[in-house]
Symmetry: C2
Subunit: 152 residues, 2 copies
Amino acid sequence: MSEEIVFDCLHSEIVNYCLLDNKENDFSTLEYIGYSTGYRLIERLTREWPRFKDELETMKFICTDFWTLIYKKQVDNLRTNHQGVYVLQDKAFRFLTRISPGTKQLEHAPKFVAFTCGLVRGALANLGINSTVTAEVQSIPSCKFHVQVKLN
Amino acid sequence: MSEEIVFDCLHSEIVNYCLLDNKENDFSTLEYIGYSTGYRLIERLTREWPRFKDELETMKFICTDFWTLIYKKQVDNLRTNHQGVYVLQDKAFRFLTRISPGTKQLEHAPKFVAFTCGLVRGALANLGINSTVTAEVQSIPSCKFHVQVKLN
């Protein structure tokens, strides 16, 4: 009996609730709840963690400690062009591990990643980095999160 | 660094989101998200737990294993009139432990208990018990959940 189940179920129900009567598949509410949760989490965590010396170090923190706190694993791969674009790949993204792999299922993927796009964007915002975060799912349960840092 | 923080933050943001532009303080959305989360949780858990022999045993399960899974502690006190009314008292209810005690704060309590009223009602529903669940907060962070079982 693991406590991740509680977070998973709550996440699922938020997804269901946000998409209820939402014919256009508008994921902005999910993204918004993710954003404010990420922002708030960093607020609660920064007492315990040091500040980071640069953008790359902040991004590494998101891939390791932050990801582990939420998903009980690290991001598997971090790539950057060193010009403000970062790609975080999670090869077994938890919210996708319960979906059966297959082309038909791929169309359902966006609703399972919107919250996390917001979560990353909110966490980065509270660490001083404004960004746009999108997700790309090519093969379930793997997911790539693209972070594009905005110039201040 | 505890993982309860993730669930706590997510809960807070759902509370904030549900009460955004909600001038009448209508807690039905929070209750609804709680209900479906509780219902779903039991679905995921019943593989691991046996069925219960009667209503009281089901209620004891809610006070112990179910409560511990979510709040990392048991309900402190369970009372019943043996006629379908149960009172579950949690003397340090987690969603209230961050509020400073005081009369003024008492008016904010309902938004922190609505989700859990739904959670208990949903869990019981999936265990075959239809009920009405309300909460009573007289002194923060203590909370009493009143369960009134409906006759089928």
